[in-house]
Amino acid sequence: MTNILIIAGKEIQEGLRNRWVLATTLLLAALALTLSFLGSAPTGNVGVNRLDVIIVSLSSLTIFLLPLIALLLSHDAVVGESERGTMLLLLSYPIGRSEVIFGKFLGHLAILAFATLCGYGAAAVALTSTGAEVGPESWIAFASMVGYSILLGAIFLAIGYLMSTLASERSTAGGIAIGIWLFFVLIYDMALLGGLVAAQGHAVPPLLLDLLLIGNPTDVYRLLNLGSGSAGALSGLGGIADHSRLSTPVLTAALLIWTAVPLGLANLIFWRREA
């Protein structure tokens, strides 16, 4: 355990030094603030809870941005160190390979969580400072949105590590990372929509739809944050969510499995690999 913390500490230290932490925090804060102020303009004071509007905007932001940041952080984690020659030295120390992987994961997750908490927290602070009234339910929804955003980041960190242990060159890992981002964030949903349109109103078996939704972590995230409550009404996703039998615990478990499986695979491959 100590070794994991030592590695995580070093990742955070490097992240602070090469401005990764600063850059991601500022980026998320700037976008969150922009979205929350622009987002509140059209609704005015028509009774819709303004925090719910922010939740919808920030969820959409998360789906695009957090996977990208996570992949950028993680795709280099193993293959980059191997290429620079620092991995060989690290592995000659009394440290297990899984400790290296989990330590890096923990460090990167801390960076990501810090940036998300600060960035999205800034939006919430800005909202309350304008004197808007926000109900406790909306606060809970906001907090779980931030939590699920970090979990979504963790998934793409884990996928990035898997790429990083599989690839033999940094550039390959980078290319695959971009491809994965495009697939999950854009292509998958477009294909799914296309499929539903092509079905022309024929009922898609609910089980198939559920599986298709669980097959993409960003869709699971969407269902969790936009599928229920007033956010559901705002985003229009409530319709799908009502038909789907996926409950919050099932969706949360799906996100956790999406983290554990790629991370476990990355660990296994790294463990079997010869340095």
Binding site: G85, T86, E274
Partner: protein, 303 residues
């Protein structure tokens, strides 16, 4: 003297490449051993095997009585390693880098700090980012991390390549100090020349096979390399008697050259110098370490 590292019948095969073939040797406490070979001869593979980073296809490796590739890595606590062309994270300072490695080895940070002085890294450089370091300073930092925790076995992969002569010298002084404390030092090199008087033993590998193992003097004796004698005759003198005696003199103008075996050398020199007035100059060139190295390499190619 006890054996600290034992390599017995070790082969390492990658999918296409046979990197190490049936190599066996042992290293003792307080011994400095040089592993010499071309690039790609199998030196780094052997060092990785001793570190337990890769597992042998055949044979077994024992370091301080344990298999370095399995177990709880306790043996790595007492092992120091300096990789070939060592690199560090460029944004961190020398002190941050060393304390990271010290924490991994559970070495207290104060004793880690003292290593900077030992490897000659100036205090003002310690708190600068590694990015600003010269090649020599990075190598010193690399050596400092290898020395963490007073290792019993040190494996140094081409530690002096790219260092200037002054640094090289202080580097070998440091190794001599470690040897006196009883550490086993194995350093790899692609040249024999700088090892004279610095390595107790030399192991030459080529294409994954160990082709020589012994002290430099032993290797010289085994190789029986000839000494080259060249003599320039004084002008106008007659050809001396010894020039016609042996058949292997090569004459170009006034210059006579011959390769002489170790046994004939003394007698021949005696004959030549019996009449000093006949000679203008006399040069005796002993075989260099490069000649010795070339001899062992060519010996393998035509067995």
């Amino acid at each position: 003297m006890t054996i600290t590292v034992e390599i017995a019948g070790v082969s390492k095969r990658y999918s296409k490449l046979h990197a190490v073939k049936d190599v066996a040797f042992g290293l003792n406490t307080g011994e400095t051993v040089a592993l010499v070979g071309h690039n790609g001869a199998g030196k780094t593979t052997l060092i990785k095997l001793m570190l337990g980073l890769i597992r042998p296809t055949e044979g077994h490796v024992r370091v301080l009585g344990e298999d370095p590739a399995r177990g709880d890595f306790a043996v790595r606590q007492r092992l120091g390693y300096l990789p070939e062309s060592v690199s560090f994270h460029l944004a961190l300072t020398g002190r941050e880098t060393l304390s990271f490695y010290a924490r991994l080895k559970r070495v207290d940070l104060a004793s880690a700090d003292r290593l900077f002085e030992r490897v000659g890294l100036a205090q003002e450089a310690v708190d600068r980012p590694v990015r600003t370091y010269s090649k020599g300073m990075r190598q010193r930092l690399g050596l400092a991390q290898a020395l963490l925790g007073e290792p019993r076995v040190l494996l140094l992969d081409e530690p002096t390549s790219g260092l200037d002569p002054a640094l090289r010298r202080s580097f070998y002084d440091l190794i001599a100090g470690l040897r006196e404390q009883g550490a086993t030092v194995m350093l790899s090199s692609h040249a024999l020349t700088e090892l004279e008087g610095r390595a107790d033993r030399v192991i030459i590998v080529n294409r994954g096979i160990k082709i020589a193992d012994g002290t430099l003097d032993e290797l010289r004796r085994i190789a029986r390399l000839p000494t080259r004698i060249s003599a320039r005759l004084a002008d106008g003198g007659p050809a001396p008697a010894w020039a016609n005696g042996g058949s292997h003199w090569k004459r170009t103008g006034q210059l006579l050259e011959a390769d002489v075996s170790p046994e004939e050398k003394i007698r021949l020199l005696h004959d030549i110098t019996a009449h000093p007035e006949q000679l203008a100059t006399l040069t005796v060139a002993e075989p260099t370490l490069d000649d010795l190295y070339a001899h062992f390499l060519s010996g393998q190619e035509t067995p």
